[in-house]
């Protein structure tokens, strides 16, 4: 087990390195650079030499390999540098937004679990009845409706019918829980609904499969009530693939909610990401991509670990 964990942790490093190289190169392939963008708008009559000096200051005139090495060395020492756009330290810029993104991801996960597990189990138990159909249609609708469309509809409903809008600035959960939740509950619901779609289907098929197993038949033969059969035996074993799916989807959530954050005006990682890209803020984008990749790979790793722990068959592979 320990060997397995160590191996997986070590394998993260080459993947992250690959990500670092890829993002570094791709960014520099994009046309336009930050200095050009900053001073390109009207009202800018700055002389070319000043702009060249700016580039030098940002390190953009160095040969590529040198820029890369400087950056990589910095990262390994946990120095993420400063944003090319604002000049502020990147850790500072990201930290403010990370709290929101993580909280949103967690809340959406809760919503998803609350919806998917009961509904999925219900659909499995009542397979091929109209309850089953309803649950399947409901959950697929969650997948089918474009997330930003849903978000816009939600916002418009609030504004038009209630003349109210959720708070537009973020207050930390520890500072003012009411303000915090009033802002985040709506995007959490929108995202969670979509998220639950996948989990519901997985729950349904996992429960269906488990219900066919022999030990369920035994439990029923023993005279156990249906509910007890369901909860004590079926659900427990069905949960494994469900947890896997939920974990995998969660990994996409941090930094993947770009459109939702834009529409609900959430000051999160996704929004920062889009802005940094259009500004060609190399250092910021690189750090963000590394961060989201790391979270993704790490969550995957955790999920695999949970799998290995819960399912002895995998553990002893």
């Amino acid at each position: 087990m320990r060997h397995y964990i160590l191996k997986r942790l070590l394998l993260m490093i080459p993947t992250l390195f690959g990500v670092a190289v890829l993002i570094f190169l791709l960014l520099r392939v994009l046309p336009g650079d930050i200095v050009e963008l900053k001073y390109a708008g009207t009202g800018s009559y700055a002389p070319k030499e000043a702009l060249a000096r700016e580039r030098a200051q940002l390190g953009l005139d160095q040969p590529l390999w040198k820029q890369f090495i400087t950056w990589i060395v910095g990262i390994s020492l946990l120095d993420f540098g400063t944003s090319m756009w604002t000049g502020q330290p990147i850790t500072h810029e990201i930290a403010i937004r990370l709290e929101l993104s993580i909280e949103l991801a967690v809340m959406a996960t809760f919503v998803a679990i609350l919806i998917s597990i009961p509904l999925g189990a219900l659909a499995a138990v009542k397979q091929d009845t109209w309850i089953d159909y309803f649950v399947r249609i409901f959950s697929i609708a969650g997948l089918a409706i474009p997330s930003f469309w849903l978000a816009i509809v939600i916002i418009l409903t609030f504004v038009i019918y209630f003349r109210w809008l959720p708070p537009l600035t973020f207050t930390s959960l520890w500072v003012d829980p009411k303000a915090n939740l009033t802002q985040l509950i709506w995007p959490a619901l929108a995202v969670g609904y979509r998220y639950s779609a996948v989990a519901t289907r997985m729950t349904r098929s996992a429960v269906l499969e488990v219900l066919r197993e022999d030990y369920i038949r035994t439990a029923r033969a023993k005279g156990l009530r249906e509910n007890a059969v369901l909860i004590r035996h079926a659900l427990k074993n069905a949960l494994l693939p469900v947890i896997t799916v939920i974990g995998l989807e969660f990994a996409f959530l941090v930094g993947g909610l770009v459109v939702t954050e834009q529409v609900f005006n959430l000051n999160g990682i996704g929004k920062l990401f889009v802005e940094a890209i259009s500004q060609r803020d190399y250092t910021m984008v690189q750090s963000l991509v590394l961060l989201t990749s790391f979270i993704f790979i790490f969550v995957n790793f955790l999920v695999d670990l949970v799998n290995a722990y819960l399912d002895p068959r995998i553990r002893f592979q």
């Binding site: 394998l11 080459p14 993947t15 690959g18 990500v19 890829l22 993002i23 791709l26 960014l27 392939v29 994009l30 046309p31 159909y133 399947r136 249609i137 697929i140 609708a141 997948l143 089918a144 409706i145 474009p146 997330s147 930003f148 469309w149 816009i152 418009l156 038009i160 289907r201 997985m202 098929s205 269906l208 499969e209 693939p241 896997t244 799916v245 995998l248 990994a251 930094g255 993947g256 770009v258 459109v259 834009q262 990401f273 889009v274 890209i277 984008v285 991509v289 989201t292 990749s293 993704f296 790979i297 995957n300």
Partner: protein, 298 residues
């Protein structure tokens, strides 16, 4: 004459068709939801193919005298902020959606399946490397890829297809790989190897055909996703560009802005997208139920 005697006396091709038709009928009876999905897809394909005959107007011609008109007998779905007929654009939009959907999922699923099977066949170091590479692709944000493609090659349907294909490859690779892993131990693969067939031949001729089930399922799953991805990318300004008729594009900008005065601008494309993705997903679901219920999709 009894049915069986007719069957046995016909050519193999016809009996295959017969069996296929029977399978479809069974599918429809057993899984009505999936059949509904298939029907919707059928309608979409028909609309896309017959767009020129079915649409009342030209999707690109603007008409500033008739901007933002409500649905009427002249314009069934109303007009948009440039006076273009929404109904026509929805029909032509199905063309864009299906083209993007099919092309990218076919490309993505096929590439993914190839990589997955190769990875499973060779195992060891190659498997490890390919796995890590898939991990890399999976964790890499789609937006950057889309942005790179769009910035370098310009916006346009073909480039959007490239951008959307990339995230699909690792997903398919993972799923197919787990199916192929089981295949590797099977006797017929051993036999092929013993006969001296090269890895390429074994992979393509022997293993690939046996992962058809997960392949098809991933394909249909991707179709819906591709349409959604296109919509999201266009919303961010990275997808198809005006004046192409595409559902995601129709939802962008003006539709949101005029959402109250002209709700039909956002309503119909949104419905079209939802319906299309819904149909693909429900069909894919039923397909999976029919072909391989044990399959776990990432």
């Amino acid at each position: 004459m009894s049915r069986t005697s007719v069957k046995t006396s016909t050519l193999p091709a016809a009996s295959r068709l017969d069996r296929w038709l029977e399978a479809c009928l069974r599918f429809t009876r057993q899984r009505p939801l999936g059949a509904i999905g298939a029907a919707i897809i059928g309608i979409m394909i028909a609309a896309a193919l017959l767009a020129g005959f079915v649409s009342p107007y030209d999707p690109l011609v603007t008409n500033y005298g008739r901007m933002l008109q409500a649905p009427s007998s002249l314009h069934w779905f109303g007009t948009d902020s440039f006076g273009r007929d929404v109904f026509t654009r929805i029909i032509y939009g199905s063309r864009t959606a299906l083209w993007i959907g099919f092309a990218s999922s076919l490309l993505g699923a096929t590439l993914g399946a190839l990589i997955g099977v190769t990875s499973a066949y060779f195992s060891g170091k190659i498997d490890l490397m390919l796995q890590r590479f898939m991990d890399l692709l999976l964790s890499f944000p789609l937006i950057i890829l889309a942005l790179v493609v769009v910035s370098l090659l310009g916006s346009g349907i073909t480039n959007v297809i490239f951008a959307i294909t990339v995230p699909m490859v690792p997903r398919c690779a993972l799923v197919v790989r787990s199916s192929a892993l089981a295949l590797r131990e099977m006797p017929f693969v051993e036999a092929a190897r013993a006969l001296g067939f090269g890895p390429l031949r074994i992979i393509v001729r022997h293993m690939l055909p046996n992962v058809m089930a997960p392949y098809l399922i991933m394909l249909t799953a991707f179709l819906g996703q591709a349409i959604l991805l296109e919509a999201s990318l266009t919303f961010l300004g990275l997808g198809v560009a005006e004046p192409t008729a595409a559902w995601g594009l129709m939802l962008r900008g003006a539709a949101v802005e005029f959402a109250e005065r002209a709700p039909w601008m956002a309503l119909f494309p949104g419905l079209a997208i939802s319906l299309a993705v819904f149909a693909f997903n429900i069909f894919g679901d039923s397909l999976r139920d029919a072909l391989d219920p044990k399959l776990r999709l990432p």
